[in-house]
């Protein structure tokens, strides 16, 4: 058993706090025991993936916690739910399921979570600082928090994520511990052209490659352009966390704790070094979806949720043209509020964009049941499209997605990738 403090023991025994707190402490302590963690550590932030409906049992459990007085004790954001609360009829679900999915989301707000309903909480104000111990769910958010913010979290799963937020504690194991953050594998991008590394579609492809090469190992990446933007890092982290169980990538010069290789490897040397060449990047890109010409049925953007900057870029690329197939932009209500104010929302709707807020097209039924081809600029959407929606993925840059949406068929610029 982990060694608990007197306060933790008092909560676990029910002497102190509500019954909901006792239940949550039991989940955290039992997990620590199963992992062999020596103790629990205090955390300062939570992000809850457990608000997505998987069945009635999870709803009943979260409602029980809320009724038993469980409240989050640290600032906590929510990941996507199964509903667009701002536009309920967008989701094709039977009424019973819709009600339960809504009850699950409500239980989380009752427990004091901020109703952000976004897989990009780090762009909705949740920015824990370097070294902060946090307990986040949602694989892309975990990878972003560790890699870009330098905060420390493992991939927290359903029920444990909310239990950590309620108790303000997490088992002391994995990426909470400095020694486990040491990189094992080095990916050297030095051999790739600067032109390739400036393209926005390079980053999700690189992420997918990292996930496949690293699996669940911590890796380091050298040779990343210094000017890499946050949305590009977001796309890379999401790709790596979708194709592999990646939770931390030391991007030399970007990751706060990895200003140089020596820091990433904590004074040691890589077990293995892989020199990434253009052929590996091209092959990975091709594996993400169809590359042949042909009709497309829709375009899905925003995995992770689109930022205001990405919405602005989409509008610029559309250049006043109208889309001939549905273009779904998945985003958070924080972003929607911003682009409502500056007129971008209306302009994008005029082009034919349909906004999907609080949720996204691969976690809940929004796309037509007929199936077809879904084009995307997201490695994560491409990875989950077929299994979760029945749509065959096609992958391209944002520019290619826009041109294809206008044409209604797949438009590529292969010369750039040759």
């Amino acid at each position: 058993m982990p060694e608990l403090t007197s306060e933790e023991r008092a909560v676990l025994s029910g002497e102190q706090g509500s019954d909901g707190q006792r239940m949550a402490m039991q989940v955290v302590a039992e997990t620590a025991r199963m992992l062999g963690a020596a103790r629990l550590i205090p955390i300062v932030s939570g992000h809850i993936d457990g608000c997505l409906y998987h069945g009635d049992s999870g709803v009943l459990y979260c409602e029980r916690l809320a009724e038993a007085g469980a409240r989050v004790s640290v600032p906590t954001t929510t990941n996507v739910g199964a509903l667009n609360l701002l536009k309920p009829d967008q989701i094709r679900v039977p009424p019973g399921r819709r009600e339960m999915a809504g009850r699950l989301m409500t239980a989380h707000t009752r427990m004091g979570c901020q109703p952000t309903w976004t897989c990009a909480p780090y762009q909705a104000g949740a920015r824990p600082e370097k070294g902060a111990q946090i307990a986040w769910g949602e694989s892309n958010a975990v990878a972003f928090a560790n890699t870009v913010l330098g905060a420390r979290t493992n991939r927290y799963g359903d029920f444990l994520d909310i239990a950590c937020a309620i108790t303000g504690r997490a088992p002391h194991y994995g990426l909470h511990q400095t020694e486990n953050r040491r990189a094992i594998l080095l990916l050297d991008l030095g051999g790739l052209s600067e032109r390739l590394k400036r393209r926005d579609d390079f980053f999700p492809v690189l992420g997918a490659l990292i996930g496949r090469l690293a699996g669940d190992a911590v890796c380091a990446v050298s040779g990343m352009p210094a000017a890499t933007g946050e949305d590009q890092l977001k796309a890379m982290c999401a790709g790596a966390a979708a194709t592999g169980a990646v939770a931390l990538v030391h991007i030399i010069g970007v990751t706060p704790e990895a200003p140089d290789l020596e820091s990433a490897f904590q004074g040691g040397v890589p077990d293995e070094t892989i020199r990434v060449d253009a052929e590996m990047i091209t092959a990975t890109r091709r594996s993400l979806g169809r590359t042949a010409e042909g009709a497309i049925d829709c375009v899905a953007l925003g995995s992770p949720h689109f930022s205001s900057l990405e919405c602005r870029e989409l509008l610029r690329l559309a250049a006043g043209r109208r889309f001939s197939v549905p273009v779904y932009v998945c985003t958070g209500r924080h972003t929607l509020a911003e682009i409502e104010d500056n007129g971008i929302e209306d302009a994008l709707r005029a082009c034919g964009v349909e906004f999907v807020v609080d949720t996204c097209v691969v976690v809940t039924p929004i796309l037509p049941a007929t199936g077809g081809v879904m084009m995307t600029n997201s490695a994560k959407f491409a990875h989950y499209a077929l299994g979760n929606t029945g749509f065959e993925p096609a992958f391209g840059s944002l520019e290619e997605c826009v041109d294809s949406a206008v044409a209604g068929s797949f438009v590529t610029r292969p010369e750039i990738w040759s």
Binding site: M23, Q26, V27, E30, T31, M34, L35, G36, D49, G50, L52, H54, G55, D56, S57, G58, L60, Y61, R64, G137, E138, S139, R155, Y156, G157, D158, F159, L160, D161, P171, D216, A245, G387
Partner: protein, 138 residues
């Protein structure tokens, strides 16, 4: 012969083994409403895991696996017990939570390189000891 595993979730069980020969993530790999293996191309695709002692040498951790196990337990279509080849802290949380809800829970034992094959009958005790059961026993 007796194999000594580590009881992640303590309990007793006896029954026929179903061994999952390929890596599997419970989320996306098992349908929580039918307990069927739905992962395309998996050696046990189409089989139902209910009521079996499920031997899982290679578990892929998915953060929603605990929710899938909880749903199986709530619907009373879960396996009788699990023998896991790797330490995992997500799947067992489903059993911890089911216990808090007073739903039936299942023993989970950690044992690397478990030699049990589909069709064997085995028994598990509270301390994580596993042995072959008599053919007509239970």
């Amino acid at each position: 012969m007796i194999w000594q595993g580590e009881a992640l979730v303590a309990g007793t069980a006896e029954g026929p083994v179903l061994r999952l020969d390929g890596p599997i993530s419970f989320w996306g790999g098992i349908d929580p409403q039918s307990a069927r293996v739905t992962l395309g191309g998996h050696p046990q695709a189409g089989q139902v895991i209910s009521n079996k002692i499920l031997v899982v040498p290679n578990l892929i951790g998915s953060s929603s696996s605990s929710a899938v196990l909880l749903e199986l337990l709530y619907r009373e279509i879960a396996p009788r017990a699990f023998v896991l080849g790797q330490r995992d802290a997500i799947l067992p949380i489903g059993a911890v939570v089911a216990n808090q809800m007073n739903w039936n829970t299942v023993p989970m034992v950690l044992l690397a390189d478990a030699p049990f094959a589909t069709g064997d009958r085995i028994s598990i005790d509270r301390d994580g000891r596993i042995e072959h059961a008599m053919a007509n026993n239970g």
